[in-house]
Amino acid sequence: MARDLDIVSPRGRLTRAALAGWAALVYVFLFAPIVLLVVFSFNANKYGTFPITGWTSKWYGQVFHDYQIRDALTTTIRIALEVTVVSTIVGTAAAFPLVRSRLPFRSGIRITLVLPIMIPGLLIGISLLVLFTSVLHQQLSPTTAVIGQAVYTTPFVLLLVAARLQGFDASLERAASDLGANTYQRLRYVVMPLLAPAILAGALFVFTLSLDEFIITLFLIGSHNTLPIYIYTQVKFGITPEVNALAALLLAASLTLMALAFVLPALVRRAVRLVPRKAGV
């Protein structure tokens, strides 16, 4: 391998070591805040900071008994479920014409559909605030927050499903039509099973994004609270170990969901492959 050539000179070796050291520092930089947050959430010190005066899980107990947190959790999950349903349907439906039809202004449409990810969430939040309050005269509610979040999350589903659709063997569909399948049957028995992993990954991704979304929700939620909004209002009064515990739980939830978004699609793919074999097709 040509790689060996890189380390012949002592100076090259030094550069390499320096870069590796830099990379190590980068990982410390990335993980130190998160690790400290989790450490503090188990710290008995009631100011939620150094020194560590002992280990306790009492703050977690308080989190589960706080009715405000329970309310916020219910709202958060309700919103996340609704956003997931809306985004998954809208994003998946739009992926088909985006990939398959010969659209005029295709790149323009593509950019418009992905723009909500690019522009600062602040702009989405305030522009919808103006629309809902001044033009449509709607009361701000979890529903308005769902719409705002869906604008931001749908492009993710669209991108994931479109990517899968692009690498899709279209001759399978032609084979299905040749064998007499109508449009519905083609979708139901050929397209959907193959797209399922991407759709599922998209849905999990959206659920996590919604769970953590802050800035759009801040403008559109009205008098309700989601967990991030609740944490934000608490932080204004300083750090408490209870908020640290809640934060640690939220961290664990998003990481678990994201891991699922990666693992589940592979499992589904395997399951889809196994089913017809068992049925003897």
């Binding site: 014409p97 629309l131 063997d169 953590d212 800035i215």
Partner: protein
């Protein structure tokens, strides 16, 4: 990822459209586009229309708490007549530029190391580790720094323990350096990913060839590597700079009075029901973004100057 078999059959798509093309009716052709309908409602009604509304609002007037549809540039004139606001615009640009440069400065050596020196089978897992914090809540990533930078935070405790100071200093928090530090933390994964993606495709043999021909490593980086990864660098700048311009939370939580950015002004306007003035401030961010994209458009178009 496309499997090799599906790639092999790809070209056939172009020749053979789905179904029976000769008998396709008018309704079937409309049917191709029907999938867009929900997206048109969602993005049209709840994304493009509101953005247009903000543009209109920035040119309308607020009279006695009512928005009057008089076209005027008063909101902009007002914004630029207040010295604090103008200073905030410059501060925002300054913070965004410095934070973007620092993010790239941290990410480039990292991506270089990952793409060049790490065996391929470990690259993916190391990359996933970089993105891991990015998958957690944005609010919590900012919040977690309060534990470190705060008066009772890890940094102060460390300084007191080592005897540098005997009481907590608030230097770390509530100022621009804190904002920049947290912004670098927040947007590092964007930069690392885009830079890695372009470095990964780079052919290191060219690098070695340049050095064989007498170039120093620094010259080789500057003359051979940088021109080829320029689209990647530009993408990284865009992905980091644009969201930073619209930052609200970071200056709010760690910035204090000196760390205020345009995003905070906008939120204050809207919370004070000054929609037209807030809209003008928001359009300033949009204008900066458009300006940036126009400036960088050409450099994004230049790909593979060496025709590789």
């Amino acid at each position: 990822m496309a499997s090799p078999s599906s790639e092999a059959t790809q070209p056939a798509d172009v020749a053979l459209p789905l179904g029976r093309p000769e008998r396709r009716s008018w309704t079937a052709r409309v049917g191709d586009y029907v999938g867009f309908a929900p997206a048109i409602v969602l993005f049209g009604l709840f994304f493009l229309v509101p953005l247009g509304l903000i543009v209109c609002y920035s040119f309308w007037q607020t009279v006695d708490y009512n928005v009057v549809h008089n076209w005027t540039v008063d909101n902009y004139r007002y914004f630029f007549s207040v010295p604090t606001y103008v200073r905030t615009v410059w501060a925002t640009i300054w913070v965004s530029v410095v934070a973007t440069l620092l993010t790239l400065a941290v990410a480039f050596p990292f991506a270089y190391w990952l793409a060049r020196y790490v065996p391929r089978r470990y690259q993916k897992i190391l990359l996933v580790l970089v993105i891991l914090p990015f998958w957690t809540s944005y609010l919590l990533r900012v919040y977690s720094w309060l534990n470190i930078l705060g008066p009772e935070g890890a940094m102060n405790r460390f300084l007191q323990w080592t005897g540098v100071t005997d009481q907590p200093v608030s230097f770390f928090l509530y100022d621009r350096p804190a904002v920049i530090l947290v912004l670098v933390y927040l947007y590092f994964p964007f930069a690392a990913l885009t830079l890695y993606a372009s470095l990964e495709r780079f052919d290191w043999n060219q690098f070695r060839a340049a050095m064989d021909l007498g170039a120093t490593p620094a010259t080789a980086v500057r003359r051979i590597l940088l021109p080829q990864i320029r689209p990647g660098l530009t993408t990284a700048v865009i992905f980091v700079f644009i969201p930073i311009l619209g930052e609200y939370l970071t200056p709010q939580l760690v910035g204090g009075a000196r760390g205020v950015m345009i995003g905070n002004l906008i939120v204050n306007f809207f919370q004070g029901a000054q929609y037209t003035r807030g809209a003008a401030a928001a359009l300033l961010i949009a204008a900066l973004i458009v300006l940036l994209l126009t400036l960088f458009r050409r450099s994004l178009e230049v790909e593979d100057p060496y025709g590789t």
